[in-house]
Amino acid sequence: MERLYLIPIAAYALLAVDHLIPNALGKWFRQVSRWVAVGAALVHAGILVYEALVSAEPPGFPQALSAAALGMMMAYVVVGAADRLRALGLLLAPLAAVMLSTSLIAPDRTVSALETAGNSPWLPLHLGLIFVGVAGFSLSFVVGVLFLVVRRRLKSKRNLSSLRRLPSLDALDKIQFRSTLFGFVFLTLGIVAGGVFAAVSLGSTAAFLDPKVLSTLIIWVWYLIALQVRIAAGWRGRLSAWFAIVGFSGLLFSLLVLNFLVRGWHAYGA
């Protein structure tokens, strides 16, 4: 099954090359690139779903990375379709390629608590909602980085003609807000579903004191503040961009570090 992953990885890598080195793959590739992205994402999603259905093991760390990569590609396909937003692929495509590749060599650990949890529809719901939320936040992260790049060029008054390939400040700012809001809604629902799962399947509310839960709640509050200052005071642009970048870094930290190093309900077992 893992070999099949080479298909989406190769496709994402090609897309990344196409974005990073203009015309390296010729015009025809650019014309079909969207279909390459759609096809690869479908294959990718298919493998993930198949694995989830067939495997006796609950999804673990490699699946989390793979799902995050898929989320980025979905954002790429949906939002990057607009010609003016093509440049989002500059970051989304390489990130997805790297993440998915990493998932193949990442230690295959699963959340140890799940081994005793048994089957519950709340678990896939919890994972799925969080996954969609993370997709939104990863988009807001990428958009935030691009916003800072474009803003810096406009402020420095240098290399302005190279901006032509990047989206406008206003467009980036709008997606920034929408993707953060989108991510926030799904993260919220995902947390709720996780809580229900813990109460129903683990039979314990002690899960709320889990380090991962706490860190996620902190991130949740962080994004809440980001949305709040935007909606109430209108602060946007650079501030929103930094909120998104820091927030997403927090999410990555929580996935890469907390799950491995800290004991708790979400800790990855051997």
Binding site: K27, L154, K155, L160, S161, D170, A171, G234
Partner: protein, 424 residues
């Protein structure tokens, strides 16, 4: 003999490179005039095919000359506008053959334009082609050239960035505005002071789709006057600062000796507009907008030097795009011109093979009795044999004809084809 190998295409005319405006305007034709002249060229036999491109920058004739050759067309250029057009010979340029094809390609691709990359010329060439089609003055040669012209111009536009790099203060302003706002749909701008450069930027913004243009001027009458002329809304000078929060773009170009838009003004405006970005262009020297404004989050201030830099970058990038476009045009002109000479021998070769096959058939008919004495299989074999023989015999001369056609070697081609002609 309709050889067409030396496809004779002529481009003749005058344009902004070769003739001053007073000469160009004397010769310029409207569409009715073009149609009349095309008819006349055809009916008098001056040209077998003709296409006239007449714009404010050029009056150019593309033609397949008639029996008389080029001289009568030169004469025609001198007199088609009557005595007013007399003596334009010193302004005329001429291209023949592939040069002519290439010239038309360059014109349509906006490589020959005064402002390289401007998009109007393609529309004008399209219109010229339409008129020539109406006047039935496009034949096999110019028809093919015209079709290719539109295709090549489109190719140049999509494959190179020739149309994307705009020069001039106005366009530089628009480009920056687009980089900030994406499009100007629903955006408002305010012109502060009705100076020349400010007007250029305001115009460019308007033609890029600005929703509303406000104008404020210290002398109110000038603002009103400008507003009436340019679909703008005048704003009282005293209230100009209030409007900073209601517009997205500010273009300042007054003769004021000190900053008329201060840091505080913009800071307040930004707060009122909830930090939606504000794009400010300061074209004045000394500057009209406090330079510290650029440090405010959400404010993007560009002065005259910044704009000049955008223009310089555009010029550089455009030169690169232009080089690339010239390559495309040269390659395509070469291909088009050679294709023209090739298609011409097609029918000749068809006729030739048909003729020889006719000979074969005739010989078989003459030996009818022999053929009749054969059974079905033998008859088929005989048929095959004679066909193979004909093919073998024709092989070398046909190759020679093709080669001569490729190389444009009219003499050889004529010699090769004439052998069979005599038989006929």
């Amino acid at each position: 003999m309709p050889m067409g190998l030396d496809v004779d295409i002529l481009a003749m005319g005058l344009n902004h490179h070769t003739a001053p405006v007073d000469v160009r305007e004397r010769l310029a034709l409207d569409s009715t005039g073009v149609l009349t002249q095309l008819k006349r060229l055809r009916e008098t036999g001056l040209a077998r095919e003709a296409l006239i491109v007449s714009t404010c920058n050029r009056v150019e004739l593309y033609a397949v000359p008639g029996e008389g050759g080029v001289d009568p067309l030169r004469m025609w250029f001198g007199e088609f506008r009557g005595p007013k057009g007399a003596d334009v010979s010193s302004y005329l340029f001429e291209h023949r053959g592939m040069g002519a094809v290439q010239h038309l390609f360059r014109v349509a691709s906006s490589l020959d334009s005064m402002v390289v990359g401007e998009p109007q010329i393609l529309g004008q060439v399209k219109e010229a082609v339409r008129i020539a089609e109406d006047g039935k003055s496009l034949g096999r040669v110019l028809g093919a050239v015209a079709r290719n012209t539109l295709k090549v111009a489109k190719k140049v536009r999509t494959e190179t960035d020739i149309g994307k790099y705009t020069v001039g203060v106005g366009n530089a302003g628009v480009e920056l505005a687009l980089q900030i706002f994406g499009d100007l749909d629903g955006r408002r701008a305010m012109l502060v002071g009705v100076g020349d450069m400010g007007q250029q930027v305001a115009h460019a913004l308007q033609s890029a789709g600005l929703k509303e243009l406000l104008v404020a001027n210290r002398t109110a009458e000038h603002a009103v006057e400008f507003a009436n002329e340019h679909r703008a809304t005048p704003v009282a000078w005293e209230r100009m600062r209030e409007y900073l929060s209601r517009v997205d773009i500010v273009v300042a170009a007054t003769g004021a000796q000190e900053a008329i838009i201060t840091n505080q003004d913009v800071r307040r405006a930004l707060r009122e507009r909830r930090y939606r970005p504000l794009f400010l262009v300061d074209l004045a020297v000394p500057r009209n907008i406090d330079p510290r404004v650029d440090d405010l989050e959400g404010a993007y201030l560009f002065n005259v030097d910044d704009l000049r830099q955008v223009i310089a970058e555009g010029v550089r990038a455009r030169q690169a795009a232009k080089d690339r476009a010239e390559e495309v045009v040269a390659v395509e002109a070469d291909r088009c011109f050679h294709a023209l000479s090739r298609v011409e021998v097609g029918p000749e070769i068809g006729r030739l093979t048909q003729f020889v096959d006719g000979l074969r058939q005739a010989e078989l008919d003459r030996s009818q009795r022999l053929v009749d004495s054969l059974d079905e299989t033998q008859r088929e074999q005989l048929e095959k044999l004679t066909k193979a023989l004909v093919k073998r015999v024709l092989h070398a001369p046909l190759q020679g004809i093709h080669r001569a056609a490729e190389e444009g070697d009219a003499a050889t081609l004529e010699a090769l084809l004439s052998i069979w002609k005599e038989e006929e």
